[in-house]
Every structure is written in structure tokens, then in C-alpha cells.
Amino acid sequence: MQAAITMNADWREDEGGRVGLWLFILSEILLFGAFLASYVGTRLGNPDCALGVAAWPEAGHLPGLTMAALNTLILLTSSYTMVRAISRAERGDRAGFRANMIATVVLGLGFLVVKSAEYALKISHGYYPGSELAKANAGLSIFLSYYYMLTILHGLHIVAGLIWNGVAYYASADAPMPSVARRAEYAGLYWHFVDVVWVFLFPLLYLI
């Protein structure tokens, strides 16, 4: 049993944060996993909305595909600025970190603005749950249900990520750089996760 005695020296003092964050992300994966499994299961099992059924709103038939494509671009760019922010923070470049983090936050806000415009466009065409259009068409109704729930919850995750990024930015004004870098890494992990969720949502909701 001598070997066991040193085992905990493997863990650095700040390692708990990274482990905890990954565990939390695991929980989040199961949340979106449950939604996406329900969505896919509904499409597979339901005659109203299987692929190719007339009632199911195919891909670009609903307004907003261009906006969603723009949003995909925005989020992917924000992931890039986030990576830059982390690497600047690790190098000890405070100003570089702050500039890139601000860019990430602005892009995240931009995503929310475009998303709101897309909602407004859809609602103005009568594409929302409970509308006359939706009540007349089971496939459309269930599609809109999943569309709004998934995008609203993803939007809330974007808001949470923005708050997280904002705290990291706020704290970076005078904190020592190693601590800034650690916060940047945690905020970055979460932000990338939120982006990856969108990478799943975009094809599932708009393209297939």
C-alpha cells in the first residue's frame, strides 16, 4: 500500500475547479441530451412529423434560416476570441485578455440581438405555439414547441455564459494574472460548451 500514499500529490490545489466544471458540464450535456433525444424520438416515431411528411416544416421553409446562419458564424467567432483571451491571460498579457474578452461578450450579446429579431420575424408570421397556424397542423405545432424550448433554453445558457464572462472580465482589472488565467479557463470551458450546443441545434432545427 506504500504506492497509494503519494497519490494525492497528483492533484494541484486549483484542480478541483476544473473537475467540478466538467462534472457540471456533464450534467448540462444530459439536460440538452434529454431534449435532443426527445426531439429525435418524436420525429422518428410520429407520423405527423417524420422526415419528408408534408406537415413537417422542412428546413428553410420557415423564415429565419439566414439569421440562424449568421448566429452560427457569430458564436464560432466568439469561441475564437475566447481562445485568444485564454491564451493571452496565460501569457500574462492583461490588456490582450481584456480586449478579447470584451469582444467575446459583445459577440454573445450580438447573438441574443439576432435571436430576438428572428423570434420577432417568426412571431409576426404566426409561427409560435398556440397560434392558429400551429393549432391547425400537428407537425408544425410540435416542431415549434421544440424550436422555442431549445432555443430559449440555449439563450438562457448564453446569458449565464455572458454573466460568467462578465465576472471574469470585472475581476481581471487588478487580480494577479495566474488567477485571471484560471477564471478565463473556467469561463472559456463553459462558453465553448454553450457554443457546442448551438452547433448541435443549428442543423437539427434548421437543416434536417
Binding site: M1, A3, A4, I5, T6, M7, N8, A9, W11, E15, G16, G17, V19, G20, L23, F24, L26, S27, E28, L30, L31, G33, A34, F35, S38, G41, T42, G45, N46, D48, C49, P129, G130, A134, K135, A138, G139, S141, I142, F143, L144, S145, Y146, Y148, M149, L153, V167, Y170, A171, A175, S179
Partner: protein
Amino acid sequence: MTEFFASLTAGVLVFVAGYGGLQGPLGRQAACVLAYLAALLVFLCVVGGAKAMRAYAQGREPEEKHGIARYFSFDVDHKVVGVQYTVAAVVIFLVGGTLALIMRLELARHGLQFLMPDQYVTVMSLHGITMVVVALIATAGGLGNFIVPLQIGARDMAFPRLNALSFWLLPPAVILLLSSPFLGGLDFGWTAIAPLSTQGTTIGKQLFLLAFVTAGFSSIFGGVNFVATVLTMRAPGMGWRRVPIFTWSIVAAAIIQIMGTSVVAASLIMVTFDRVLHTTFFNSDLGGNVLLYQHLFWYYSHPAVYIMILPAFGAILEILPVYARKPLFAYKLVAGALLTITALSFIVWAHHMFTSGMWMLLKLPFMVNTELISIPTGVVFLAVMGTLWKAKLRLDSPMLWALAMVANFLIGGLTGIPLADAPTDLHLHDTWFIVAHFHFTIMGGAVFGFFAGFHHWFPKMTGRRLNEALAKTQCALMFVGFNAVFIPLFWLGNHGMRRHVADFPAWMDPVQTFASLAALVVGSSAIVFSYNVFISLRGGEAAGENPWEALTLEWKTPSPPPHGNFKTPPVVAGEPYDYGASA
């Protein structure tokens, strides 16, 4: 600044709720959701969450508090959080128990006594959900928070602020639950099965959903915290083969909390969307699927019973070696068994749905998977028997509770077999047979296990010993009373007594009256318990460092432990259950 942002957000939410909900297009349900979110934010700020958040943003250490007031504030010490959880669990347990007594009085004879059927269902639903909360938080949240960091020789949890947050999310959830009967009531039990839960516009139903999701957040945060703590903060020398079994059980339960809770949150969020935004997830006229709710719900809610029972297993397995003065039998095997139960728990959920009309072919695998769980559970019993074998028992009160738990759980486990078998389940589904079965596992198992742990660790948590005579009286009253209430229920259920119903045929009267009288015995044990805790806190005998002569790390520090837990950081050099023959 945090307070500013929080109050701004709360203000906006209230405005949208008031304007959009009551006047505009959103409706009352949405107003209720938004107003609750605002209230939750304000509540967390008031108890001190905003201050802790600001300290985090500025990179300061959490401040150390003193005195009794710390138990009513956002305190980050794991020992304070553990006590908060334990006290909350006991208080909610007494509330839920009172609800149970109300039901038992209504059921004392046939016909309606003093509750209308819908009131009975509301009382039943509230009893169900409050007791589910108790079973989830008592051992894992209360004893786990206090004991696990001590057992592994850590200073605190990995995320002390998150720990405080996970506790402080609970009071709002419980307040919501308890206010729901005054706002239209609940009629769907603790399961909120759709489409019953998507129909009807009472606010009470909506409050239930919000409370459930809030408690879910609390549970996820707690689970993340435990796993991260045990992974990264064990004392030098504590390899995985030296982790005490209670800590193992908490890790197993925490894995379920992390991997299950978000899925049930998904199902409740979908119900909320159906109620608030007129989506049609569970409306089969408009493309929805009602069975989907049950799949998502039971995916979590079956594993949830293992969140309740695994820490109780851990507690009694921790206790037995101490009072048997022998090493825990098959320690490695039983640690593996706890993790095996965790893994299997995620592939058995549809045994709740044998009568639901789901795909026939699913019945066989779910039946087999469910029965597989009896193998690791058998290993737990093997460890219990092996530890007791030829031991000279010290029959102190924690040991009595642990033995009572084993006896109860044996009945609970064996009566689970006819429910896991699809053919017999068709007959027993939704009868009191199931009610008796899960009370033997959750009340007889999880709650008795909690009391075992409570009596074992009370000296460590408070520095004082409980009165042994009263503790043994409580154990005897509760054990006899509990068995007398629930054993007849198996028989009634098998003869057709259904759940959720306030009335029954007159020929059941003698048995029902007997169960009601026995329930009063259980109630009286709660009074003995409260009295015992009260007098022991005021004038109990000082406990000293290690009153039970146990070997795990929590007993190597003063009772109650000081801030930071250990005066010198401990180094582990031996096995956790090295009780020699001479002891």
C-alpha cells in the same frame, strides 16, 4: 454592485410579470414563473448570496462567521451547511409526518371523515414530495456535508460557496410546496404525470414545478461538489482503497445527482412550457407524446431512490464495524457494489411503466435489469452479515437503528421482486402493495439509516451525547409502529386497495383502523426524538473526541471540529476498519 444587478433583474422580472402576465398576452402562469424568479433572486441576496458572489468576483476568501447567527446565513463552512441541511431535513420530516398522520386519520375507517377527495389528494401529494425532499437531503445533504470532508481529511468542500448556495435553494422550494394547497392545490401526486400536470390553470401546480426544478439545481450543485471534493481533496495517503464506505456511498449518490437530475428538470421544464407558452409536448392531438414525460421523469426518479438509499447503506456499513468491533466484511466488494447499483440504476426506469402502454418489447430488458440490481444489493447484505458474524455487538442506539434498518430493508427489497416482474406487477401496479414496498425501502431503509447516522454522528456534530434511554425508546417505538402500519398495507394492496384514494370498502375497516392506531405510535416516536435532541443540546453529556472508539478520520479531531477541521493536516497510514480482535 451585485445587489444592484440582482435588484435590477428582479425589478424587470416583476415588471414583465405584472404587465405582460396580468394585463398583456403572457397570462397568469407566466406571471407566476417570473415573479418567483424575482423573489428567488431577492431571497438569495437577503441571506447573503450577493455578498459571497462579490467576494468571489474580487478573489477574496469567504469570511469566517461566528455564533448562532451563522446557521441562518449564507455561511460557507461545510459543517454549518451540514447542520443546516440536517435541521431542515428533520423539520420537513416532521411536516411531512404530520401530513401522513392527517391521511392516516382520514383513512381510519371507510367513507369520508374530514377531507374531501381532492383535499386528500393534495395532502397525499404534499406528503409525497416533502418526504422525497427529506429522503434526498437528510443523509446525503446533512450528514454527507458534515462528515465527508472530515472523513477524507479535507479542510472543507471543494466549492464552499456553491455548497451554501445548494442549501439556500431549498427553503424557497419548500415554501413554494407548502403554499401550493392555498393556491389551488395539487392533484398529481409527487410525480406530476402529464397530461394531468399540463391541464388546469391553478397556480399551485405551477409552484410545484418551480419548486421541483429549484430543488433540482440544489441537488446538481451538491453532487458536483461531493465528487470534486472526494476526487481532489483526500488527505495524503488516502488511496481509493482507504476511502471510508460512507464517503463511497455519497460519491455513488452524487454521480446519480449529476447524471439524473438534469433529465427530470428537462421533463418539468417541458411541462412548464406546455402550461405557460402553449407548446404541445404532451398533447397527443398536436404531435406530442404523453409517454415521453414518463420516460424522462423515471429516468431520474428511479435512480433518485438510490440517491436516498445509497448514503443510508453507507451510513449503516460505516456504523456496523464500529459497534461490532470487526473490520467491514468485503470492503472492496461492497464499494464496487455501490458503484454497480449506481450504473444499473440508469437502465431500469421503465419498470414504473409496465402498465403504461409503452412498447411491449421493452418490458423484458427492463425487468431483467431491475432484477440484476438485487445482486449488488445482496452484496451489501453479505457485507452486513459478514461483519456481524461471530461479533460481540455493542448495542448502543446507533447500532440498534442500523440493525432495524437492515431488517426493514430486507422486507422492502424482497417485496420489490414481484413489482419488478412484469406479470405480477400488472396485478400490483398502483396499489398499496407498492406504497408499502417503497415505504419499507425509503422510510424503513433511508430514514432509519439516517437516524442511525444521526445518532452515530450527533456527538461529533454538537460535542454532546444524546440520551441513550430516550434514543432506544424512540428506535423501538418507530420500528414497531412503522412495521405495524405498513405490513398490513401489503395485504390490503394485494386485495385491491388503490393509491391516491380516500375511501375504501367497509370490510377493510379493522385493518385500516389498526394501521391508523399504529401510525400514532410512529408519531409519538417523533415527539420522543424532538425532546431528546432538545434536552441533549442543552445539557447532554460532553462527547469528547471519540465516544464510540471508531477509527475513521472524523473522530481524530475535537467535537465539534474547529474551523479548518484539523489542527494538523492528517496523513493516512492505515486501513479505515482495522478493528483488532482485542478491541
